[in-house]
Symmetry: D5
Subunit: 131 residues, 10 copies
């Protein structure tokens, strides 16, 4: 059905707003505290059809001496809204951006996407700092 082809303009990776991310000092750097943020309202779009993907992003990390400031994390994740990106690539992009910001001891990023065509997708990637 032609009228359903290409109805939305799909943003490229450049629309992902990494600059807004902000770190704040963590007062217990050697405590090996495990921190987990859960964003149940993540959305991006399919790179081919522009149809929306909806899912939950979970970021688990053991901070060294920096925490990510939550309001900046929220605006960073919101900037994926109209970006065309495979669900399996979302977790890797978020991991790399936050790794650069926080230099954590360890970090795991998980994305649980709602069903598309009846099939739901979960992707998880983990990073441990070599010591």
């Amino acid at each position: 059905m032609s009228k359903y082809d290409k109805r939305w303009d799909i943003d490229g990776y450049d629309a992902i707003d990494t600059d807004i991310l902000e770190a704040i000092p963590f007062e217990y750097p050697d405590s090996h505290t495990e921190v987990k943020y859960i964003e149940p309202e993540f959305t991006s779009v399919c790179p081919w059809t522009g149809l929306p993907d909806f899912g939950t992003i979970t970021i688990k990390y053991i901070p060294s001496d920096k925490l990510v400031e939550l309001k900046s994390l929220k605006y960073y994740l919101n900037s994926f809204r109209n970006v065309g990106i495979l669900q399996e690539h979302v977790v890797n992009r978020i991991l790399n951006d936050l790794k650069n910001l926080l230099d954590p001891i360890e970090m795991t990023v998980t994305a649980e996407f709602n069903a598309r065509g009846g099939i739901s997708t979960v992707a998880t990637v983990n990073y441990k700092k070599e010591i």
Copy 2:
């Protein structure tokens, strides 16, 4: 009750549409990302009575450099609709087809079938590439 014998024509394994499966490139091949697809609306039929089996198929794998394209996976799984196949054999057939397509680092396929005669069935098979 004779009128309940053999009411449906049951397709053979040949009706399973492996050709439609399609792989797409994965941009983070060394990330050891774990990907899981969940299809809660899988159906096939009992090889003897033709009565339907309904269940959830879960495919978990660590991709090397290829992902399975979701729409092609959906049409492949739909092609089991009228195939006569034991629930315990379904997981092995899907594992072998996807192993050939993706050459993954690791893959696990699980099928959780609704009750038949009051008894529900779960079958799970795992594959790890020897390195």
Copy 3:
């Protein structure tokens, strides 16, 4: 994507097996007993794409002097498996077939279909005998 057009042969309404339906005597015809059958594993297909619809059919009725025999009801509902029919039309077809079989005092048929393209559908139709 051409390879995704018209992959399945879609049965017409003629494949709906009304003859197999069977009534059995109800020993308390004046009790105004309310009976409800719930079939959570109903499936039919979209008349255009052939893609499957999955849903729960609920049949609630006040029997006069006849009950529908459950095994015959199961085989009747299973016969929709490969029939192309709009979800909103399914409830009306089932109501008419069972009304003719049972001549009930009252009957309501509800279909709750899983999401298709993210949208799930519920359809309900009610019949009361004029006295």
Copy 4:
């Protein structure tokens, strides 16, 4: 499969033990108190195949001056264990037996049976005393 025909001896209605039922005095006969008993572990058998039905029986009534003693109600309901009786007839038989015992102002008996051949059944019957 012949070996699956007629494997159990099915008790008749005579096995239902109405004599064991016992009433005890209710100290607030004019309070119009509404009482509900829920027995989630009711079982009887199909009159044709002998295969078991499992369900929940709910008895709701407004007592006049008598309550049914719970231990006697439990043994009465247990006596249906090997009785062949249609699920739609179970609620009517229980209503009649308890109506005779208690002469209640009002009584409703509901049976919610687990799925048999994938279809679950709910039957409800109500009685109000004409005043």
Copy 5:
């Protein structure tokens, strides 16, 4: 088994501590506000065996110009702990005690008791002031 007969001393109705109940002024007497208190940890004992009953008491009322003070209500309900009383009588006793304390516009008391011998009991009684 003789050793299981009469193992506990069962308190009489006199152990129910009505004096501890306390009313406090309600600042919006004409607002027709509906208030509901839920006590999920009510316990009393069977008048014959002394075995414990456990349930949830719900008190719903439209106060005139008085509310019951919650700590006093808690100690009043706790005083049923070792009292032998039928579950169907508990709701009537509580309704009468609180009616005398509060002179409410309307009040409903419900008791949902856990299963005893597999059967759970719900009792409800309602009072409306004639105007």
Copy 6:
């Protein structure tokens, strides 16, 4: 924090794509069938901050002789994605658009939005045709 002001361009009401909506014939116009569509993945944005709202839209109607075609309904609802509109106004806009398309006997549109600043919103509007 200035960097959090006005980060997204917010579309006006003109971006709402009413033209794509399509009606299909309903084969049982006098059946008074009740149809309900549930879209759990609706999203629009706050008209002031551009921050996203996420919610579930439920459309319940009694069709005269027309049904809305589901794929067209999906693309229509998706077109709200970047539109700045108050949650309380969303339900009224959708009701008016679908009323014009279907001329239904009756229609109710409900929006249940996730929490924003901790507060979640539900808005419901109903229409009945004067006969």
Copy 7:
């Protein structure tokens, strides 16, 4: 235990910040739209002990031509944080403040407070404009 007496300074009703409340225009004044806001994180304190109460406030109203702006509603509800007030009085105070702000066609305010001493409280008050 003396050390547990009077450990917190309890604010009076003056700390309730009614001035911050703000109304915004509703574009469908005659639509009889029903709007419901749910704040699950309401807290105030007991007027005698200063110990905290936690509950969910639900505000349901049919707006005339004004809606309450959500951020102002959030700050208004937050201002109860250290106020000593009976749970049954909270709903009446909120109803009166919002009635004055919005002059709604109808409004209902409900508070569901977590257990205190094991007993949880629900209070509901309703207002309809005489026409």
Copy 8:
């Protein structure tokens, strides 16, 4: 209470129908597939009182070259219906019978029984073939 003693005739272990069990060939003997059957409607009786036990039986095994045919498993488990047997002994009897039938690589049998006298029971037994 004499009338509650010995009201049912309790079958001995001989009523357990092991002969009806049937094995079918498994097409992937070396796949190390894990198979789990769940029967939520298992019932047997107390060897002393004849009162019923209700529970869920879960059979998990890694088949060598044989699967148990589900209909035969259902009739085998049904044959415990009137057998007097301790819940802790049920799991051992089933394990031994299925071990003899299937010669599995590994098998675990679990029984989760509903409460009796308020106490529920779970029993689990595991078998691994020495290689």
Copy 9:
């Protein structure tokens, strides 16, 4: 508030009825079967205030050649009803009593107590026989 001090007489540890406990023979002593009993209706009282504690006791053990008879276990646990004992001490007392009765291969006792003053408590103790 003086009237709330010391309202109940609190039983000492002597009221715990260890003599009623009974062991029965286990027919599969070498099976290493794991048995778990769950009593969701355990209650005892605070040693200082006499106010009730309510919780769930779970007893998990690997029997040698003896099982505890369930009715005797129920009466033993009921005997804690008016005993003043810290929740953290309850699990240790039960473990020691049952260890002496059964001489098990291994045993774990867990108590999950409802909230008191808003805080709920879970206590777990484990015992393994040195071999």
Copy 10:
């Protein structure tokens, strides 16, 4: 919006009332009992905006010879009510205070905070005594 800046006075860490904490003797010091307290109604405020954080604190420890008295723990946790503190710092502060009070064999403190700006936070810190 200026009127939303700095509306509350935020207490410093000095308001955290560590002195009220009290230890009581544990009668089974060598039992290696594991104790867990769950406080679902913890609240503190954001150090910058003063807006409230709500969460569940879980304290799990293996006591040496001392338990924390629950009422003192409740008042200590309540004293965070108006304290400005990052969620990730809360768990570390509580761990240190209780470590000093109890000198436990091991202790883990977890905080699960409700969503703020749509993102919820979980922080966990663990301590083991070097032996």
